[in-house]
């Protein structure tokens, strides 16, 4: 008897004609017969569910369950067997879709540039709250997260059910062994995407951390490549700077360059001194950039003080490269306003300490020129300062010079 039920349809099931027994109580014997048959047949194994009789019991610790491929228990992360690269790119898709929100991850960053890399730094799944829905595996565009067949997860303490990347990582070959056809379907796309991602992963980022020898091998490979390659082009780069690679400028660098150009333009317009564009190609660490910014601001402030016209705009404490840019522009303006004489062109936001020094010197020179008496105290040149301290010093000196020039200026006016 097959019944097809459609939505909204009321189905009345005919139970068949009720058997009438000539002798009452025979129905009871029938039911005893059913139970007898079950008892008799229960000595036979029935594992393929082909019959309603027979023992279905799987004696679990002795017999391992034969799980279907699509069985899902808890999510795991895959890494490639050959390269050791994890398939995960920390796209956050799984974290977004996870209904109980038990997936947490951090994207890997290039330690030298702070740039995001398509790889995962840490990946945490709270197995205790995971509901094994498998959405994460469904949604993963890189086939990096898959559902495991391992179900014996009992632990002595609660904390060990918070699982980190170290314990989540499984080789692709493991997943292939538990779900061969499923992996066969996903394989081509997953490897293609992985190859693309490996190219965007600098250094050893993205290799499963427990594969120590793999990482060492990759490091050696990288070192060999670096030795073979030509030395880094700008000799001025500090030893801390990473090997020069063809890459885009960070927004900070861009902003610094822009500000410098603007300042130069402004001074050009003011006429007297030829503007030099500060070197902008060199890299700088965040700390250096900060120092350069500081120097620029100070230069600007002094230039403002040097000017007869009061600098109306207060320079708020700049917190980022935008502010630095602003400060540079303001400095340039202040210098322009400072008088007929070419004002101190502040070259703000230089991109390294050399540039900062240069800017300071220029500011000092401008200030000096602004005054009638040249300030002789300022040392004309210094050995190339190597850190932000030196840059600061240069800036302070520039400021002093500018102040002096301004005082002299005032005197002449009074006279």
């Amino acid at each position: 008897m097959t019944i097809t039920i459609q939505r909204g349809e009321v189905v009345e099931v005919a139970r068949g004609s009720q058997r009438r027994y000539a002798v009452p109580g025979m129905g009871l014997l029938d039911s005893l017969g059913v139970v007898w048959k079950h008892w008799r047949e229960s000595f036979r194994q029935n594992r393929d569910f082909s019959d309603i009789h027979g023992t279905f019991t799987e004696q679990y610790p002795d017999e391992r369950p034969n799980l279907p491929e699509a069985y899902r228990n808890m999510p795991i992360l895959l890494y490639d067997d050959e390269t050791g690269h994890e398939l995960c790119t920390s796209c956050f898709q799984c974290q977004r879709i996870c209904p109980p929100q038990v997936i947490h991850m951090t994207q890997a960053k290039d330690p030298t540039t702070g740039k995001a890399v398509p790889s995962v730094a840490e990946f945490i799944i709270e197995y205790d709250a995971c509901m094994s829905c498998g959405f994460c595996a469904e949604v993963c565009p890189f086939d990096a997260i898959k559902m495991d067949h391992h179900f014996e997860l009992s632990t002595a303490d609660h904390a060990s059910l918070t699982v980190y990347k170290q314990e989540l990582n499984r080789p692709v070959s493991y997943y292939q062994s538990i779900a061969p056809t499923l992996w066969e379907e996903a394989k081509a796309g997953a490897y293609k995407k992985l190859q693309g991602n490996i190219k965007r992963r600098p250094d050893v980022i993205g290799i499963a951390p427990h594969l120590v020898d793999r990482i060492a091998a990759r490091r050696a490979e990288l070192a060999a490549a670096a030795a073979a390659a030509p030395p880094p082009p700008p000799p001025a780069t500090t030893p801390a700077a990473p090997p020069a690679e063809a890459r885009k400028l960070t927004p900070e660098e861009k902003a610094a360059k822009l500000a410098a150009i603007k300042a130069a333009n402004a001074s050009k317009q003011s006429g007297a001194t030829p503007a030099e564009t500060p070197p902008a190609t060199a890299e700088l660490s965040p700390a250096e950039a900060k120092a350069a910014k500081l120097a620029a601001i100070r230069a600007a402030n002094t230039a403002k003080q040097a000017g007869t016209a009061p600098a109306a705009e207060a320079t708020p404490a700049p917190v980022d490269e935008k502010a630095a840019k602003l400060a540079a522009i303001r400095a340039a303006n202040a210098a322009k306003q400072a008088g007929t004489v070419p004002a101190a062109e502040a070259t703000p936001a230089p991109v390294d300490e050399k540039a900062a020094k240069l800017a300071a010197i220029r500011a000092a020179n401008a200030a000096k020129q602004a005054g009638t008496a040249p300030a002789a105290e300022v040392p004309p040149a210094e050995p190339a300062p190597v850190d932000e301290k030196a840059a600061k010093l240069a800036a302070i000196r520039a400021a002093n010079a500018a102040k002096k020039a301004a005082a002299e200026d005032n005197e002449t006016e009074r006279n």
């Binding site: 002798v23 009452p24 109580g25 139970v35 229960s42 279905f56 004696q59």
Partner: protein
């Protein structure tokens, strides 16, 4: 037993102890033996039931402790002994303590009249059957004590149900036994078994039948109907499914055992399983000849017995072993039937249980008593009893006429009573449904 001990102590050692002391030693020995055997029967039954019911439900059952799980009941026993004994604050402490004892003790007494094999009966009381059923009723007092002393609504409900059920179902049990007692003319369990020798015909009805130990009362229509009624009543008395409403776990937790834990609970369990064993055993004894079976009578004929003091002791041993084997095989088969019924039928409602006992079993057993009277009249009466019609008939003819007559009477009675009962139940269900519809204001 007395003779063996007497021979050992007075003849072999020559101590000259008095007869009462030897009797006392003999009874103490037998009692000790039975008190050791009874818990083992219970342990075996729990394992047996769990394995059998598991098979009926397409499972395997306990198979972890020992080979095929045979030591599972031992593990359960250890668990029971190590559990904390909790007595509720509101309970009547002394009655709560005494109740399991009052329940267990009568079941142990019942072993006194149970014959295990030829000549292997602790006491051959001439009112053995009466003793058996009188004692078995006492445990109802214990159940009531347990339910009342627990001061728990479920326990009280369970106890009430248990007592009502036991009192109701003693009647059909005893009435069906009454028919047997009329047929065999004895209340002694031992002579009841002796009457069941022969070959499909009891030697007490027809003399000269070869003794193959198969003249079981189940082969007579009276015995068959009596057995059916008795077994159903025994299910109710032993609180087995489908009559396990006193401890219906889905309704009233565990009935009168709700507030018991540890070994006190274990004692209730023990009592229940020993009672089940005894009911199966007594069913085997009364209707299936107890230790009677092919070969036992022949072996026992050559053994040392009061009628044959010159026998050989080896035949005592052989007859005893074979008799105990037959007896236990029958008993265990009946327990299997109990499990089988548990696997097949759902639990009855209280009103259905009462209806079934009072409106179906009691009328049927009363008719059966009437049939038994016909049987006795046709097979053994004569002119002296005012029944001259059968005087000249041969024993076989008498037996045949009695068989056919009682078969017709019992069959007709069964069909008629069952039909009436069926229609009464159906009408009652209809009334119930009508009432339900009215209370729910549903259209008819």
């Amino acid at each position: 037993m007395y003779d063996i001990l007497d021979g050992l102590i007075n003849s072999t050692f020559g101590w000259g102890w008095p007869g009462w002391l030897i009797s006392l030693i003999g009874y103490v020995l037998v009692a000790t033996l039975l008190f050791a055997v009874a818990p083992f029967q219970m342990l075996f039954f729990t394992y047996y039931e769990r394995r059998a019911i598991a098979r009926m439900q397409d499972r395997i059952g306990p198979n972890r402790v020992g080979p095929e799980g045979i030591f599972q009941p031992i593990a359960d026993g250890v668990k029971m002994f190590t559990k904390e004994d909790i007595v509720p604050d509101a309970a009547d402490k002394w009655v709560h303590l005494l109740a399991p004892i009052v329940v267990v003790a009568p079941t142990m007494f019942m072993f006194a009249v149970l014959p295990w094999g030829p000549g292997m009966v602790p006491v051959d009381l001439n009112t053995g059957l009466l003793f058996f059923f009188a004692i078995s009723s006492i445990s109802a007092v214990g159940l009531m004590m347990a339910g009342w002393a627990s001061n728990n609504k479920f326990a009280l409900l369970g106890a009430m149900r248990a007592v009502a059920q036991m009192v109701s179902y003693e009647i059909p049990a005893v009435l069906s036994l009454l028919a047997i007692v009329m047929m065999t003319g004895t209340l002694s369990v031992v002579s009841l078994i002796n009457a069941q020798g022969g070959l499909f015909i009891s030697t007490s009805d027809v003399a000269g039948v070869p003794d193959l130990g198969l003249g079981w009362l189940i082969f007579t229509p009276v015995g068959l109907l009596a057995f059916l009624c008795f077994f159903i009543a025994a299910l109710a008395e032993g609180e087995r499914t489908p009559f396990d409403i006193p401890e219906a776990d889905s309704e009233i937790v565990a009935g009168y055992m709700t507030e018991y834990s540890g070994m006190k609970f274990g004692l209730f369990y023990l009592a229940q399983y020993i009672l089940n064993f005894l009911l199966c055993a007594i069913a085997a004894v009364i209707f299936f000849g107890g230790w009677q079976g092919p070969g036992v009578g022949w072996l026992y004929g050559m053994a040392i017995s009061p009628t044959n003091p010159d026998g050989s002791w080896i035949f005592n041993l052989l007859a005893g072993m074979l008799g105990v084997f037959y007896f236990l095989a029958k008993t265990y088969f009946f327990f299997f039937v109990m499990i089988w019924i548990r696997g097949a039928y759902p639990r009855l409602r209280v009103d259905q249980l009462m209806d079934f006992g009072w409106k179906f079993l009691i009328p049927l057993t009363l008719v059966n008593v009437f049939s038994a009277a016909i049987w006795v009249a046709v097979t053994s009466w004569g002119v002296a009893d005012g029944f001259g019609l059968v005087e000249g008939w041969s024993p076989m003819l008498r037996w045949g006429v009695a068989f056919v007559t009682t078969l017709v009477v019992n069959g007709a009675a069964y069909v008629i009573v069952a039909r009436i009962y069926n229609s009464a139940q159906a009408a009652r269900n209809r009334l119930d449904i009508d009432e339900l519809r009215e209370s729910l204001a549903l259209p008819r």
